[in-house]
């Protein structure tokens, strides 16, 4: 190995390591390892003193490799890599050895074994560091433009937020008008404000905003490229149109379940869903006066084996509409049958109590004794089994409203294939991480907001719209993306273009190309996430991963096998 000069820094971490591992003897042992020019122990390597020592020793001994044996790389690796960089050493010529969480803390009653293990782990680290190569991180440009798919409340919120920050936004809507589900809603809980009063101004603002190019009606056809340089093909006014953007926000929303096969829906008049009811309420309210009774049945088509999830806000919708009907016609018997009532939070609990005070009757029913609608063409009575009193009730009822869940949009599968993003339960889009990255996909540059991810009400759609816009703005504001240099690379001479790695890559980041007559695999560094799955499928090792080549791991195995 061309003049490798290794510095080893072994940490006491106070007593966390030093209390179990005989650190000085490990330092002594490290001095004898191949190409180790300098080795020292520090009380706290991550302290300012420890970091300063690393910088000084790199300069003093002209070190070109650094090994730190301390806690876990998952927390401190960036800190030490930055320190090496400050000292003028390429940050990838660094290896971290975990002798705390993986050694001292779990072998507290076996000090000798722990020390022996620490020595071997350091030996493995020093063996690997010899083969590390300096790396440059790939930098790509990010177009300051975003494509928002879906012109519902979430999509418009994201579009307006990004447009107001000065980014060019392409808002793509499949229907003939913006607004999505909210357009077909009468009033909005919990304030009972008229839905149009909320959605119309947002639509106007979206149309008026000079940074928003509206593509409506337009169908998403294909998406190529990667963060910073997406080509989004849409079918608009009879022709394909390719839009070049840096980021994409998926806000395709969801749709109400039409519960065919439940309670004669579709076969009997006046058996409607909440959304159908919203439509009727929007037209006129006269028909409510001659209502004798209305029964709403909640959880229809959900929290059942085929569809296990709770759609979160359909209870509140039922309470809202029940209350409106009750207010309009105090004589009508308004009943809400539920299997549990989701009225979380201050406003919703308050809303629920007001509906009860207005005389809406809330009864619990059970799936094994469901309510029966009595009537020929349309409901006349309803037979309910009340669980509390374990008795049967017959109530007048000339309308049954089925409260059904939101289900995923029918073309989620197609969109997910185009964007190469996964689908989770119920075919909703699956976010990168429930808590840590809720509005992003694992694929960089693609974000998600609204009911496309799972059923959310308007307030949550708006907040997720803002969140997705904020996340999308990060790469677009800097205009640059840096990719950590742990991606794969191909040795063209060794590659026979068999395409195995192309199939193995979860991110479609590899393609077979022709370079002056020789066919070979090529890795797109902007798309490669550095998982290394391709490297393990290549039989000849023609493709390797920076920082994790076969050579670097094999010498660790040999060090370990030889050492014991």
């Amino acid at each position: 190995m061309a003049d490798v000069r290794v510095g080893v820094f072994i940490c006491h971490c106070g007593t966390n390591i030093g209390g179990v591992v005989d650190v000085p003897s490990v330092v002594e042992y490290a001095r004898a390892l191949p190409n180790v020019i300098y080795a020292e122990n520090n009380l706290y390597t991550c302290s300012e003193g420890g970091l300063a020592s690393i910088r000084e020793k790199i300069a003093e001994h002209n070190l070109n490799r650094v090994v730190v044996a301390a806690c876990t790389p998952r927390t401190h690796e960036p800190l030490f890599k930055n320190t090496c960089e400050d000292a003028g050493l390429n940050r990838y010529l660094f290896e971290f050895v975990n002798i705390r969480e993986h050694c001292s803390w779990i072998h507290m009653h076996a000090k000798d074994d722990a020390t022996e293990k620490a020595k071997q782990l350091v030996a493995m680290g020093v063996a690997k560091v010899q083969w590390l190569q300096p790396q440059q991180e790939y930098e790509g440009d990010v177009l300051k433009a975003s494509a928002v798919i879906g012109g519902g409340i979430a999509g418009m919120t994201s579009a307006l937020s990004l447009a107001n920050q000065g980014y060019e936004v392409h808002l793509i809507e499949r229907e003939k008008e913006l607004g999505g589900l909210v357009k077909s809603v009468n009033r909005l809980f919990p304030t009972n404000v008229d839905a149009d009063k909320v959605i119309t101004p947002i639509i106007e603002k979206a149309k008026a905003n000079k940074n928003i190019r509206l593509h409506m009606p337009a169908e998403l056809k294909d998406v190529k490229g990667f963060i910073g340089d997406f080509d989004v093909t849409i079918y608009e006014n009879g022709a394909d149109n390719v839009i070049k953007v840096g980021t994409i926000i998926v806000a395709t929303g969801a749709q109400e379940l039409k519960p065919d096969g439940f309670y004669n829906y579709g076969k009997m008049d006046n058996v409607v869903t909440q959304l159908d009811l919203e439509g009727k309420l929007k037209q006129d309210k006269k028909w409510i006066d001659d209502l004798a009774g209305v029964t709403m049945i909640n959880c229809v088509g959900c929290r059942i084996p085929e569809r296990t999830y709770c759609s979160r806000f359909c209870c509140i919708t039922a309470i809202k509409n029940a209350w409106i009907l009750r207010e309009a016609n105090p004589k009508a018997k308004v009943v809400v049958l539920h299997r549990d009532l989701m009225a979380y939070g201050v406003e919703f609990e308050e809303y629920y109590r007001k509906a009860m005070e207005a005389g809406v009757l809330f009864l619990r029913y059970n799936l094994d004794k469901p309510p029966q609608i009595i009537g020929k063409e349309k409901p006349e009575k309803i037979k309910i089994h009340d669980e509390l009193t374990d008795s049967h009730l017959e109530l007048p009822c000339d309308m049954v409203v089925l409260t059904t869940p939101l289900v995923s949009a029918r073309d989620n599968e197609a969109v997910s294939k185009m964007l190469k993003v996964p689908l989770g339960d119920g075919m909703f889009f699956l976010e990168a991480h429930l808590k840590l990255r809720p509005v992003e996909f694992a694929t960089d540059g693609v974000y998600v907001a609204g009911s496309a991810r799972w059923p959310v009400d308007i307030t949550e759609s708006i907040s997720q719209g803002y969140a997705a816009a904020a996340k999308a703005a990060i790469p677009m504001s800097s205009g640059k993306i840096k990719v950590e240099a742990i991606t794969s690379f191909v040795n063209i001479g060794e590659c026979i273009a068999c395409g195995t790695c192309v199939l193995a890559c979860p991110f479609n980041a590899i393609s077979v190309v022709d370079t002056d007559g020789k066919m070979h695999a090529q890795v797109n560094e902007a798309m490669c996430k550095g998982c290394g799955t391709c490297v393990a499928t290549c039989p000849s090792g023609a493709i390797q991963q920076k920082g994790c080549t076969d050579q670097q791991i094999l010498c660790m195995i040999e060090t370990l096998a030889g050492g014991l």
């Binding site: 998952r74 779990i106 290394g532 393990a536 370990l560 096998a561």
Partner: protein
């Protein structure tokens, strides 16, 4: 733990996002374990080459563990799907060649399963102790 004086050499490949983090959690929770284990960190269990494990057994490792994220949790969507297929197959190939498949452990440990990491490592170490030294390298 059967104490027949034989201390097995055990190597584990852990993925940065799940099993390595689970190991860290076991450390933070001071869950004590037998000291036979040495961990090599990879970004994804999908990076663990079957050839590495073959090399490990060939060079005298008594037991090798491949620990990744649970199926469906992989940070790289489905890198660990390949891991599962490869190492279920390797277990069979080892058996065909006469190496006890129990010397190879394929399991899934999430970042929050420190306890499971301790269990898996402790059980595997005693199982390898039972099986005795690596038969390839012995005599």
């Amino acid at each position: 733990m059967i104490d027949n004086g034989f201390e097995p050499k055990i190597l584990a490949f852990c993925c940065n996002w799940c099993s390595y983090a689970g190991a860290d959690l076991a450390g933070v929770s001071r869950l004590q374990m037998p000291p036979n284990l040495r961990v090599i960190r990879v970004m994804c269990s999908g990076r663990v080459s079957v050839e590495w494990v073959i090399k490990a057994f060939s060079s005298g490792m008594d037991g090798v563990m491949v620990l990744g994220c649970h199926i469906g949790d992989c940070h790289y969507i489905d890198g660990n799907h390949r891991t599962k297929k490869r190492f279920v197959l390797l277990g069979k190939l080892l058996g065909a060649l006469g190496i006890e498949p129990d010397r190879l452990c394929l399991d899934w440990v999430s970042a929050s399963e420190g306890q499971k990491f301790q269990d898996v490592v402790t059980k595997f170490t005693s199982r390898v102790k039972e099986l005795g030294p690596n038969p390839i390298v012995a005599a």
